[in-house]
């Protein structure tokens, strides 16, 4: 099955191609990042913060976009009509949680989430919880309805995390 001619690039006369080398190096760098993620908590922490839009700066967050992250982490979200703790919950809390495949903040920012949860033009409270190999990041957001239409996103400071 294996044809060594197909995998060997070194048999050919080397023609300098910096673009090719840069892309290969870039891929190697990202692969190393991914392979180290389970073993280095700091990498997982960065990635969890990226998923919750809680990276220290937008530019650092944006620089991570090439890192593929399809269906990463156990991401849960909960949407409420009242501030957390305002109403005594009679129902089991677990009933409100649903899983999201990746980037759980999508339930606020992506078109489907906006349609499902923000069509009413009433305030909503979102809680996001992502976990990866024992690390958990929880974030709370208040989506405040604006008189002129749309919402203002307010990050609620009291967040629980065990990173």
């Amino acid at each position: 099955m294996v044809d060594s001619n197909d995998t060997s690039l070194s048999n050919d006369r080397q023609q300098s191609d910096w673009g090719f080398c840069c892309i290969v190096a870039f891929i190697g760098l990202i692969a190393a990042w991914l392979l180290l993620m389970p073993w280095i908590p700091g990498i997982a922490k960065h990635s969890l913060q990226r998923f919750h839009l809680r990276t220290a700066s937008f530019s650092v967050w944006a620089a991570q976009f090439p890192i593929p992250s399809m269906y990463n982490f156990a991401n849960q979200y909960k949407v409420e009509q009242y501030p957390p703790g305002f109403v005594m919950m009679i129902l089991d809390e677990n009933e409100n949680w649903r899983y999201a495949n990746h980037f759980p903040a999508r339930v606020i920012t992506f078109f489907a989430g906006r349609y499902d949860f923000l069509s009413s033009q009433q305030d909503r409270w979102f809680t996001l919880k992502s976990s990866y190999r024992g690390q958990v990041l929880e974030s709370k957001f208040h989506l405040e309805a604006q008189a002129e239409g749309g919402y203002k996103l307010i990050r609620i400071d009291e967040v629980e995390e065990s990173l």
């Binding site: 001619n5 197909d6 692969a31 992250s69 903040a105 239409g149």
Partner: protein
């Protein structure tokens, strides 16, 4: 496999410029991915205009629906032109424009989370590189490098999926049970819900999830070391199965990757005895 190889050898003898053909195939696949998102674009166009979310984390212009409109249409138009043009300079320019537009989609508030734009971005990066090399006189070397890069990119994307699933919630099937098995309207999950009890579904979800973790891990780590045509075949099968067994929305994420995977089929098979020759194999570029 031999039939596929023979078909491509016939195309070569007919004067096919392999790198250019591979480039065009990937552009067509990118267009399929983009326009599979047509419904997204229509709905996003309306919802983002009517329900803006003010978040200081994103710069204003990366929350604007106007930016998405320009980025989406600009990328589609540039990719369409780069697919059909025979002018090298125009092809290079359009590759860069498509790359730039998709980069915006990857960091825009309304589309950053959609993996479609990340997989397209990697295809665009590959396209930019190839567009600057396509007129080389060493077509075989270029084709091998293009195929190597393509399977390296696909491996990386699968590895990215795998690494994030190396966590107990995926090994137990808990995550995918909630996302897919509970209420997803797709032929496979509708069938399973109609024929199995909830406890059985959880067991099926566990093994469904585990096979995804294993397949993504193995292919993420090992696909790029396979020979070009075998990697192309295996990647195409794996990517197609992901769509068939998951959901139709993944077509947009996967279609461009299948196009990229097929680049491996364009690598010419060398005669066995040619491996012992020291001289490089070169092909003159054929007419467009």
């Amino acid at each position: 496999m031999n039939k596929i190889t023979q078909a491509f050898q016939r195309l070569q003898s007919a004067g096919l410029n392999r790198p250019l053909a591979a480039y065009r195939l990937v552009q067509a696949a990118i267009l399929i991915s983009l326009f599979w998102k047509w419904e997204f674009f229509l709905q996003a166009n309306s919802i983002y205009a009517n329900t803006p979310v003010e978040d200081p984390f994103f710069p204003d212009w990366l929350r604007s629906v106007t930016t998405i409109r320009f980025a989406f249409w600009g990328s589609a138009l540039a990719t369409g032109i780069s697919l059909i043009t025979s002018i090298n300079l125009l092809r290079k320019t359009c590759s860069w424009l498509g790359f730039f537009g998709i980069t915006l989609m990857c960091v825009h508030q309304g589309s950053y989370n959609d993996m479609t734009f990340v997989t397209i971005w990697w295809c665009c990066l590959w396209s930019v590189w190839l567009s600057h090399r396509v007129d080389t006189d060493q077509q075989e070397l270029l084709m091998r490098r293009a195929a190597f890069l393509s399977r390296l990119i696909i491996s990386l994307i699968l590895l990215g999926g795998a690494a994030g699933k190396w966590t107990p919630e995926y090994w137990s099937g808990e995550v995918l049970f909630d996302i897919y098995f509970l209420d997803r309207d797709f032929w496979l999950f509708n069938y399973l819900r109609a024929n199995y009890e909830p406890a059985e579904l959880q067991e099926i979800a566990k093994w469904y999830s585990r096979q995804i973790v294993v397949v993504e891990t193995i292919s993420g780590i090992g696909l790029w070391v396979l020979p070009a045509r075998w990697a192309a075949l295996i990647a195409t099968i794996i990517l197609s199965v992901i769509v068939i067994l998951s959901n139709k929305y993944l077509v947009s994420v996967i279609a461009c990757l299948i196009g990229l995977a097929c680049v491996g089929f364009f690598v010419p098979r060398r005669p066995r005895n040619a491996a012992t020759l020291a001289s490089p194999a070169t092909e003159e570029p054929a007419a467009n």
